[in-house]
């Protein structure tokens, strides 16, 4: 005899119900950057659009920042932590391989026993999280899901290198996804291109670091020890021109796919919030997408730098704060980065 199984009942739609942000207290301007690399405020602004970036002090963790953003998002959504059925945290800078930052965050928010897990999709992590949360809520698996994009990149940079470190900042942005009568999140376009795995990557592993420290201990050699610290602690590097080309011309196609999948055109948007990688990437994407004048563009990078998984929710949070009339309109968001990976969708702004 065949025994029937229960399956959850799908809900009609989902939406972003609330957003939250956490911006750490330290403000690093270009003058300070120029103490580490031979450059100038003018050069950095011209090449990247960045004036300052925020960085977290030593005693503020990835989970601390995530909690700050999550509490504001919960309040904005009008729900409490114990109503969450899922906590998804996108990051590449949580310093524990296990346990996850999401489980700690869920506990702090009183969201136990919500499903909790981290996503490693670098600068696309937040969009991956939104896609996952949308699926969880729409399938009936969870009622409300928290998605956080958070990075403490300052733990994994070498201030003296010139390819990426000076762009990077810390921070957290969060969103609550819940059920809706009308669709508020379009089909997600998620993908990867592992052929360019090395285009943005850590330059070492923790195993290399461990082995270098062991060598230094064995030889009692100060140079070996310095080498271990400077060369083997994993820090980020990128092949800027390769990433720029991919980010602009390939990601413009992905952004268009997201609009097509949503069944809308750029005319229907009120906002465009791309990953805040570099102002020149943002400007060139806007050009390639031929966005109409009325579409407001997230340009949080000027003050926040590139915060990887946190950049889209931080930029969107700011755009809404400064332009509350955008609430209820459609925004295209697209994340792209190390992997290489990408994710995009259209959402109705809370």
């Amino acid at each position: 005899m065949t025994v029937a199984l229960n399956q959850p009942t799908a809900v009609a739609g989902t939406r972003v119900m609330g957003l939250g942000a956490y911006r750490p207290e330290l403000v690093i301007d270009n003058e300070q950057i120029c103490q580490w690399i031979d450059s100038s405020d003018e050069w950095i602004q011209k090449r990247t659009g960045i004036k300052t970036r925020r960085r977290a002090p030593r005693d503020v963790s990835v989970v601390d920042m995530a909690e700050g953003a999550a509490r504001e998002a919960l309040e904005h959504a009008g729900i409490s932590g114990d109503q969450l059925g899922g906590v998804i945290l996108a990051t590449v800078t949580h310093p524990y391989a296990t346990p996850s930052a999401a489980a700690d965050l869920a506990h702090r928010l009183g969201a136990t026993p919500a499903a909790a897990f981290d996503i490693s999709a670098a600068c696309a992590g937040y969009c991956y999280g939104i896609g996952q949360a949308d699926a969880m809520v729409r399938s009936g698996l969870s009622s409300y899901v928290l998605v956080v994009g958070v990075e403490k990149l300052s733990d994994f940079i070498d201030n003296h290198e010139r390819t990426i470190s000076f762009l990077l900042g810390d921070g957290a942005g969060a969103a609550i996804i819940g059920p809706a009568e009308a669709p508020g999140i379009s089909p997600s376009i998620l993908g990867s291109n592992g052929e360019k795995w090395e285009a943005v990557a850590m330059d070492s592993t923790l195993l290399n670091f461990r082995d270098a420290l062991a060598r230094a201990r064995e030889t009692q050699d100060a140079t070996e020890l310095l080498d271990a610290e400077n060369r083997y602690w994993p820090t980020l590097r990128q092949d800027g021109p390769t990433v720029f080309r991919w980010a602009v011309w390939e990601m413009a196609k992905v952004a268009q796919q997201a609009l097509d999948a949503a069944g809308i055109t750029a005319e229907d948007l009120v906002a465009f919030v791309p990953h805040q990688a570099n102002m020149r990437i943002i400007d060139e994407m806007v050009k390639q997408l031929k966005l109409p004048e009325h579409v407001m563009v997230g340009r949080d990078i000027v003050d926040a730098g590139n915060t990887s998984a946190a950049s889209i929710p931080l930029a969107m949070h700011r755009l809404l704060k400064e332009n509350p009339e955008l609430s209820g309109g459609l925004a295209l968001q697209i994340g792209f980065g190390a992997g290489l990976v990408y994710g995009a969708q259209v959402i109705r702004l809370p």
């Binding site: 090449r47 092949d239 800027g240 021109p241 720029f244 080309r245 602009v248 011309w249």
Partner: protein, 81 residues
């Protein structure tokens, strides 16, 4: 298919559009970085626009070998084959 003079003229237009440099300044022996002060990001924009204009593929790894305007003209001419 364009001859080398036409490629140079087309490339000069692309460089002008990206950087504002006068087309007359874009000559074969000029180095993109040293003489024309074009950074690696602008170079990529020029390369993608050149691909479109001349219907050729210029892979990322080739871009690093295009030191002078003449190198780019030669590469495009050969790629058009």
């Amino acid at each position: 298919m364009a001859d080398k003079n036409e490629i140079l003229a087309g490339l000069a237009e692309i460089v002008n559009e990206e950087t504002g440099l006068e087309v007359e300044e874009v000559q074969s022996e000029k180095s993109f970085t040293e003489d024309l002060d074009i950074d690696s990001i602008s170079m990529m924009t020029i390369v993608v626009n050149a691909e479109e204009k001349f219907d050729v593929k210029i892979p990322d790894e080739e871009v690093k070998n295009l030191t002078t305007v003449g190198d780019a003209v030669d590469f495009i001419a050969n790629a058009q084959g």
